[in-house]
Symmetry: C2
Subunit: 311 residues, 2 copies
């Protein structure tokens, strides 16, 4: 960890990052300023950690303000904690930037998101690079043996989704089309990790969940595969499906809802006896491996999977 | 966390990363494959975490094989754990790569380093980028309230160093000069984080330590400042100083030892009553703020500090 040295880079760090996130939290004994941060975990709790990179031009369009890109980078990382049902604790942030201005902009976006979600910034570094990017590591906690995992789905479970899918992709298309006041723009600008709702799901007893970051059907395939089962999904049951069809037509609605990423809805399964207010039941788990999607009970051919960096 | 999806990127991840590091360790309950990893910490222990990025062309020359750059990235991160006296547990690795070949090469270097140090790879992601880079987050543990910190130095403590400084910088110069069989090449190629020695220092009772990554005098200034004291350092007492002078002449030896980075020696302070076999005592802590360096008791003017990304 190289934060807090002497000059330029370090004045910048002090100005942009130190004390700017949420917190402090009792989890952290020593934050920014040493070679590493120090933490304690209460008895009976497990630690949950996720780490991901977000790059301008890859995870968001290069003409999107860097503040927004950095806010999204933090929120997508926090969504991984939500997927497990964890309460977020802190963040280590590595900023790679073309210029000191880019550091300032990404710092502002990242720390605003951390503050909004009460997450302490405890370490990381800042590096000159050929591109603007953030690597975000987040930690959270949950009571022992209660994590919502991808491998805990059971045949005959119902499939639920909390949050909309396809709307981010629709907003991205509006952005590319120059419709920067378009009706989906807020879905594109802002990720809201469903942290509070996820903790409630875990407390209600949900044990199988993931966040939909790479497209509903690709992500469902990972969940189905991890749980050694199949999934049957009816697209017309998706939250606000009719709105998506009304705005985009059925073909684009199917495409965006099934394959569009970055919505960060929570996809979870639960026994048929359970009910979840505010979530939509979109299908059921089955014994036959794989994922099958239908629209108004007519099978949709699954044409392609989500985003792949090296295809 | 987006590891383990379906195709190209994910075959690559399976081939290059899954099960390739050290471990598994009892710290990890769930590793690669879900939205986040899950961990437990024994009672009486603290968690130590550091996160840093390493970029081709910034942290290592672009013509250095990516395997070596990635190995160095892991080892420099582990050195931050050594600086605190922590026993390493696991690593989350974000790989940004220009091509799938670059992923394979950085994966090989990173996992080799993790395996050599018995550190489990538990998460991260792989992203297409305009540059080759790694963001490395590492976690370790140590008994409560025993961490070696930068702010625990005391006036009249002796200053010690374990490991050599200036040798990496000398090797980098040989690399730039095309002397790729030069006598300093092994110091340039390979970082060896002093993990075992650091745990021994902590167990001996050392409470103030840092790793020298950005140049001896710049790093000493951070330690002195954190501990609200001054430091008096005699360069001729540095390990293998005579060898450095013999190979480079006095002027370059001073410059490389005082300001060259990336050596990852451990700089620590301790009461005068303590002695450390294998380490060199290079000075003492004083009441006057700042760092003063001498060579054969003649003051050296401190001309500049170490590397700064945004100056």
């Amino acid at each position: 960890m190289v934060w807090f040295k002497s000059m330029g880079e370090f004045d910048l760090i002090e100005r942009c990052f130190v004390g700017k996130g949420g917190g402090p939290s009792p989890f952290t004994l020593l934050g920014i300023g040493d070679d590493a941060s120090l933490h304690q975990l209460e008895a009976g709790m497990e630690l949950v950690v996720s780490s991901d990179s977000s790059l301008a031009g890859v995870h968001w369009p290069v003409d999107l303000p860097l503040e927004i890109g950095a806010d999204r980078a933090i929120c997508s990382a926090l969504s991984d904690l939500a997927a497990m049902g964890a309460e977020p604790l802190c963040c280590w942030l590595n900023v790679m930037a073309e210029s000191s201005d880019a550091v300032v902009q990404m710092g502002a976006g990242a720390t605003a998101a951390l503050k909004r979600h009460g997450v302490e910034l405890v370490g990381g570094d800042t590096t000159r690079a050929l591109c603007n990017a953030l690597s975000v590591t987040v930690a959270g906690k949950l009571p022992k043996a209660t994590a919502m995992r991808r491998d805990q789905g059971l045949i005959d479970d119902k499939i639920w989704i909390l949050g909309r899918v396809g709307f981010h992709r629709a907003g991205l298309q509006q952005w590319f089309d120059g419709q920067k006041e378009g009706c989906f723009m807020s879905d594109f600008h802002r990720i809201e990790p469903l942290l509070t709702a996820a903790v409630q799901l875990r407390e209600q007893g949900v044990r199988c969940c993931m966040d939909v970051s790479d497209g509903l059907l690709q992500d469902a395939m990972h969940l189905a595969s991890a749980s050694s089962m199949g999934m049957e999904i009816e697209l017309s049951l998706l939250p606000d499906w009719q709105q998506l069809v009304a705005e985009l037509g059925e073909e684009s609605a199917i495409h965006y809802a099934a394959y569009g990423g970055e919505d960060y809805a929570l996809l979870f399964t639960a026994p048929a006896s359970m009910y979840f207010d505010g979530a939509a039941c979109i299908g059921h788990c089955s014994a036959e491996a794989g994922v099958r999607a239908s629209l108004n009970h007519k099978t949709i051919e699954i044409e392609k999977a989500g985003y792949d960096h090296f295809k």
